[in-house]
Symmetry: none
Amino acid sequence: MNAEIISIGDELLIGQVINSNQAVIAEKLASVGIRVARMSTVGDSVPEILTTLAEAWKRAQVLIITGGLGPTHDDLTREAVCQFFQSDLVLNPEALEHIRTLFASRGLPVTKNNEDQAYVPRGCSVIQNLHGTAPGYFFQRDDRSMAVLPGVPYEMKEMMETFVIPHFSRKGTGMVIRSKTLRTTGIAESLLAQQIGDISVLFEKDSGVTLAFLPSPTGVRLRISAGAPSLREAERRIAYVEQKIRQKVQKYIYGENNEELEEVVGRILASRQMTIAVAESCTGGILTDRITNISGSSRYFERGFIVYSNESKSTELGVPAEVIVAHGAVSKEVCEAMARGAREKAHTDIGISTTGIAGPTGGTEEKPVGLVWIGYSDKGKTLALRFNFGNDRRRFKERASQAALELVRRMLLKIDS
Amino acid sequence: MNAEIISIGDELLIGQVINSNQAVIAEKLASVGIRVARMSTVGDSVPEILTTLAEAWKRAQVLIITGGLGPTHDDLTREAVCQFFQSDLVLNPEALEHIRTLFASRGLPVTKNNEDQAYVPRGCSVIQNLHGTAPGYFFQRDDRSMAVLPGVPYEMKEMMETFVIPHFSRKGTGMVIRSKTLRTTGIAESLLAQQIGDISVLFEKDSGVTLAFLPSPTGVRLRISAGAPSLREAERRIAYVEQKIRQKVQKYIYGENNEELEEVVGRILASRQMTIAVAESCTGGILTDRITNISGSSRYFERGFIVYSNESKSTELGVPAEVIVAHGAVSKEVCEAMARGAREKAHTDIGISTTGIAGPTGGTEEKPVGLVWIGYSDKGKTLALRFNFGNDRRRFKERASQAALELVRRMLLKIDS
């Protein structure tokens, strides 16, 4: 079954926005065995949308269209779709109700522009938009389907997941593609590849399994994909390869698929009824931000100290001023004192800390930009490890927070660092 | 002058890679007055490349093609281009020399696959690839041009910058396109549109200026674009519209183009030599994370308290336990006490605070998920404002941190909220 994706928006054609929607949609369609044959992007113009739509409708059985469903004058997708199906607009009461509720919950008056969004092309099924005001439309004509979704990434994604993919999954396409991702951290891509070795010996012969290395600043993901006649068979083929990989690099694998490291660490802490406190200098809040992204984190996260100034390191965490003077704020000694101080002050089981030079300026020969100490303290021991995470400020913060969470994971699971 | 971009690669069609090349190319073409009318993505297949290429060649004067020029069996773009122009391959000695030098400099032997890349379609100009082994091709046929470039982003970008864009710039397209973005926050898209009113009266007649509304969870961006015979004229036309927009919605505009709110607030604080401390409950660190994303923020950011537990609100910030018991942790009273406590404890000019229910669970009828108080305190006054930011935990944190930064901006600039 072939699909095409059409993205609509002038902002894409002038390069203001990178189109991430196409990849998200393509990946989800692949998961139910639908192959994307072509992706197109056109501007907010009824004739251009109509032409592109008509061409794609001739070639593909599945069409996913995103963008141009907003409430303003430059949103023209609904009009083009109406012209294409020679259909007029009808009020969808559920959509109207949803729009009113959304505005009410935010304490805002509904405008006429937004109420107008509840008018949808006659003859479509409405795809409710949990996160926004623009409903989506779903058309089924003989063996062809078309989904029209908003371009806002998280609105689109939720509607793909709750409506479009389940629809095709129920319908069945004769082929199932599954993939599973193993998430690693703390090891470079080339070293990971070396430790895994010859990948051909990981696979059963002709099993149609592939392995992709997907590097990111916080770690390398290993994606195993398999196409098979049944879900069960696809999963069996993936499990075979997964086991082989785990035998070789288990200690670096912290999670699977979309699991973030903060989720894994949070689960361990919650299951052991342990609590944690955080002291951040150079990472400036990203570490506590990540920990508290997890719903229920209040069970184990007690408090955090963002101690940017030297004075705050002393008054909040009891790091002796002499230690800061003797070794500098970016030092093993201060880092350990911060982790211990956070734990003792907050009366938690664990304290973690970061101190370093996030850059892009402020480095010296002895302490270059990118240098960071990551500290850990529990009742039994206190330690700090040294890393260098480069001179891009945001990447530095992401990588340092990942290293701090990974240190907690390894200490809790007693994995050698 | 109209252009089309064609991206080639199976990895794009399965969603493994987000296509950032299109936006890079489009932005560069716009800078020399070339408008991209359509972008297409197809797989590594000669027939599919040929079809897409032939269609685009009929519609556009400029074609930019990327991807599928690598040394392996699944790189088929060169073959498709040869078939399209009915051309064979000829050796390009400079390309061969470059490939050999590149391998020598890395201390690696040249493979036959790589040497083969020096064979290029007869009748093209060769675009040298400084960073890789695949040369690009440039075809000029009557009034039409086609550039074929590798898909590796930094190789492609360098070749666009050193060859393709200078070519069109020299040639002159008679037209320059510029755009400027005004960033707003604290007002819904529909309300913003209402306050701006009839947009046609913003523009001079036939000035070729467009206005786009680009919503995101943290605010709506207004993009003004103008095409004109000269850069100066394009900028004048944009300035005309900008001034009209500012007359209507100035108070919501915090920045321009890629400026983030934390940058704007940081600049005001630094210029006034003022300092700030932060107390976060529900936002869990994202607010300090954003503030410290700015290089040089240590000049004004003193410290932050991530006070997740009730006890920490009292011990760290001096919020009286009775106030928490009487009003609950999510209340105006606690929020104000947090902002004041942070300011006094850190001896800063300003304190800001957040307390709310990030969800997705934990709400009650009186205090629903999404409810948040944002507090501000300086020597003269202390206050807190109430918002609701919905039940998506991450969105909630982003929006609440934006509202906190915006409150600081408005207080510092004495703008009514």
